[in-house]
């Protein structure tokens, strides 16, 4: 999978469109996929980009590396349903308030969901939106939407929120150790400290759950 390094900022471009290109020389590197095939990753990246587009309001799923984030989650314990109670019997048609009651793991749900979106990455944006509207009420779509938000705003160690673009977008400063001097000030005005990642705060490399189990 191709990625482009722009001025020290990794900008993933799963749909082969470079974003925020600078005059500097671009260097192509390869990001290894853990679970998805390249074809699946391209469809996923295109779909995540329609859920959280890159537009005049700012960067989106593409710049944040949402597809890389989701690929890692799928390959990790969450994707294998390590955390969910998976004993039967399964009541697939349970009311929504019981949460997802199906047997399929996130890996299986994504595999099928992306298969059903075959050719999606070749469609025009308006056609892509049409296609997503058709599956809006599916469990796959709700999972994709939730995972897209996670990939936008998780700590960068998970592979998303690259260079903290998501946090910069909303003014979230990350795991800041102290707000003691500011918590009861700045009333009515934006207080936006520069974001810091967990790695920057602790000075240590922390292994996220997808790399542990």
């Amino acid at each position: 999978m191709s990625a482009t390094s722009v001025g020290g900022v990794l900008v993933y471009s799963l749909d082969r469109q470079l974003f925020r290109l600078s005059a500097q020389a671009n260097q192509s590197i390869r990001i290894p996929l853990r679970f998805l095939s390249q074809a699946e990753a391209l469809i996923l990246a295109a779909a995540a980009s329609r859920i959280f587009p890159s537009d005049e309001a700012g960067p989106g799923a593409r710049e944040a590396g949402v597809a890389v984030y989701i690929d890692r989650q799928l390959a990790g314990p969450w994707g294998r349903d390590r955390y969910r109670y998976t004993h039967g019997p399964f009541e697939e048609n349970a009311p929504a308030e019981f949460g997802y009651q199906g047997q399929a793991t996130p890996q299986q749900i994504y595999r099928q969901g992306l298969k059903d979106l075959k050719g999606f990455d070749r469609l025009k944006p308006a056609e892509q939106d049409q296609k997503l509207k058709q599956i809006e009420t599916s469990f796959f779509f709700s999972l994709l939407r939730q995972n897209t938000i996670e990939g936008m705003f998780c700590d960068p160690m998970h592979g998303g929120n690259v260079d903290m673009v998501g946090w910069q977008l909303i003014g979230f400063p990350g795991p800041r150790m102290s707000n003691y001097d500011d918590v009861d000030k700045h009333f009515g005005e934006a207080f936006r400290p520069k974001p810091v990642s967990l790695h920057q705060v602790t000075g240590r490399k922390i292994r996220p759950s997808e790399d542990r189990e």
Binding site: E150, C154, M177, N179, Y180, V201
Partner: protein, 587 residues
């Protein structure tokens, strides 16, 4: 099965109540005490590395592993229960410190009339005002009896707050509706962030009595009488679902464990999953002989002892009693039996969602920093002409908003929930949104209870606990009333747009409400209607004490930890001063 040498005391569960008992018995007596904790030890010095919303707040790394054991749920006995395949409306803990490691640390006392709820309602409004299917009871203990123990719990943790009732004298700025207090809070209130400050001013201008939330996230460095010191809170916004990176939040590991570690007579065994309480029972009277557990290596162990404390949270306390056939399971059809009855879950919902013009800097705060209005709590307002009994609190908490949980909240006028239009609105409102929450009482009903599920099993093959639970008209009417009050305050706060809560319908097991789920092994003054006596001692097995919110006959509006700690202190006092001298029934 391997049988270990007998010890004096076995404590099942290493959370707030279990470790409090271990600390008290460890330091006050020479008894040999073993704590069996199913989860692992905590690396509290590494809590700073846990400030990761995804792994901790979304994937719930500190909580009970649902893949091994969960609960099943249904709304009424006619339905087939389904497993909660991941936890939703409440979050059980696991590991040393239990849920006390990842709590929000809000620390209010219950109103005095809560402890005599049946008597109070009957005297004031007549028994006919209670819902037909209620199972409301008195606790068998009074507020006055508990007051010194509440104070001890507050001193233990260095609670930050402002008294509103010092020995009957009302004090402006505190909760003037609270029960009498023998002492001011050990530390001053926490700082109040912008959103909560706006709520304070609006409530005050409407004539209500706002006051700072009592917090176990201490506002300044505090040293308790055990010599245990904790730093003051820095409002980093990683409290609920996390361990505190600097230990400002009182947690069993930074409040009780430092004392326990000095007690040579106490040992904590982690990875020890207790599966059965082994007892001799003849004609309903009996004694516990020991417990069986699976240790961290997978070996089955029998641990005999003389005295037992079951301190493993509401759900596990109830389940272990049912699995071990200690006492008679509750049967809603005949209203006989006691184990599992009076399941309640606090009425907890976002009563008003507010959208502002100006940014709010909501990332700053702590799990317990905020303002409460208690003018509609308990029976502080007349219910004669209202369609419901009791009430609750309105809270404006500034817990420190994190983006995965909070991004995407938009006013109703935005119709989409993905794509450019949604993104634009969500970006704009991300830091311009807040909610006023209601936290209210839940009456007990004969049809809300716990038993063992006939279908679904845990990791070991034992039946899961089954919850049968739904709201009744009392809660729905109370919610409607509280929502109107919240909207009134929200408008006064100057919000550009206010969305009212759409109403309580069916109980929703997937929406997080609170982890204040209670009952199952309730206390009371009659062995026919309760599992434990007012000292939390089992009615039929005098060497077994069952502690925690499992003992609450019904759910108050207050967060449960202060009360379950006060009850635990009281139980330990009676064990040390009376039971150890004469090991028999205390009531």
């Amino acid at each position: 099965m391997k049988t270990l040498p007998s010890v004096d005391v076995v404590i099942v569960g290493g959370g707030w109540t279990g470790l409090l008992v271990a600390k008290e018995l460890g330091s006050q007596t020479a008894l040999s005490v073993v704590v069996l904790e199913r989860g692992g030890p905590r690396k509290t010095d590494e809590y700073g590395e846990d400030m990761d919303e995804l792994d901790y707040a979304v994937r719930l790394r500190m909580m009970q592993d649902a893949s091994r054991e969960t609960v099943t749920f249904r709304h009424n006995p006619a339905q087939r229960a389904l497993p909660l395949r991941q936890f939703g409306s409440f979050l059980p803990g696991s590991g040393v410190g239990g849920a006390g490691e990842h709590w929000s640390a809000i620390f209010p006392r219950m109103l005095p009339d809560c402890f005599a709820l049946l008597s109070h309602i009957t005297e004031k409004y007549g028994a006919e005002r209670l819902p037909e299917d209620h199972s409301v009871q008195d606790w068998g203990v009074t507020y006055d009896e508990l007051e010194p123990y509440y104070t001890r719990a507050e001193v233990l943790m260095g609670i930050s707050g402002k008294a509103g009732n010092l020995r009957g004298k009302q004090i402006e700025g505190g909760n003037i509706f609270e029960g009498w207090r023998s002492a001011e809070y050990p530390t001053p209130p926490t700082k109040i962030p912008y959103f909560s400050a706006m709520f304070h001013d609006a409530a005050k201008s409407l004539g209500y009595h706002p006051y700072p939330v009592p917090a176990a996230t201490t506002s300044q460095t505090y040293t308790n009488p055990d010599g245990v010191s904790r730093a003051g809170c820095t409002y980093c916004g990683f409290c609920e679902r996390f361990g505190c990176m600097i230990g400002a939040k009182a947690q069993p590991t930074n409040t009780l464990l430092p004392v326990i570690q000095k007690c040579k007579n106490v040992s904590i065994r982690t990875g020890a999953q207790v599966r059965r309480i082994v007892h001799d029972t003849v004609q309903s009277k009996g004694r516990v002989r020991g417990v069986t557990y699976i240790d961290a290596t997978g070996q089955e162990i029998f641990q005999p002892a003389a005295l037992f404390f079951l301190t493993s949270w509401t759900l596990n306390n109830t389940r272990l009693l049912l699995l071990s056939k200690v006492g008679e399971p509750y049967d809603p059809a005949t209203n006989k039996g006691t184990v599992g009855r009076n399941l309640t879950h606090q009425v907890n919902f976002p009563a008003a969602s507010l959208y502002f013009e100006q940014p709010l800097n909501r990332f700053m705060g702590s799990g317990a920093s905020g303002i409460t209005v208690s003018d509609f709590d308990g029976d502080l307002f007349d219910h004669s002409s209202l369609p419901f009994l009791r009430g609750g609190n309105l809270l404006s908490l500034s817990v420190g908003n994190r983006p995965i949980a909070n991004f995407g909240t938009v006013p109703k006028s935005v119709k989409s929930n993905w794509g450019s239009e949604w993104k634009k609105a969500a970006l704009h409102y991300y830091d311009r949104t807040g909610s006023i929450n209601f936290q209210g009482e839940h009456l007990a009903y004969s049809g809300n209870y716990m038993d063992l599920d006939p279908t679904y099993k845990d990791h070991f093959g034992d039946p899961l606990l089954r919850l049968t639970l739904d709201w009744r008209e009392n809660e729905r009417s109370m919610a409607q009333f509280a929502t109107a009050k919240a909207v009134e305050i929200a408008r006064e706060m100057g919000a550009k747009e206010v969305t009212a809560f759409s109403g309580l319908r069916r109980y929703d097991p997937s929406r997080y409400q609170s982890s204040h789920i209670q009952g199952g092994a309730i206390m009371g003054s009659s062995p026919h209607r309760s599992v434990v006596n007012p000292y939390l001692q089992h009615w039929h097995m005098s060497n077994l004490f069952v502690l925690g919110a499992s003992s609450f006959p019904q759910n108050a509006s207050a967060n449960p930890t202060p009360t379950l700690m006060a009850l635990a202190y009281r139980a330990v006092d009676h064990v040390v001063n009376r039971y150890l001298k004469n090991p028999a029934a205390l009531a």
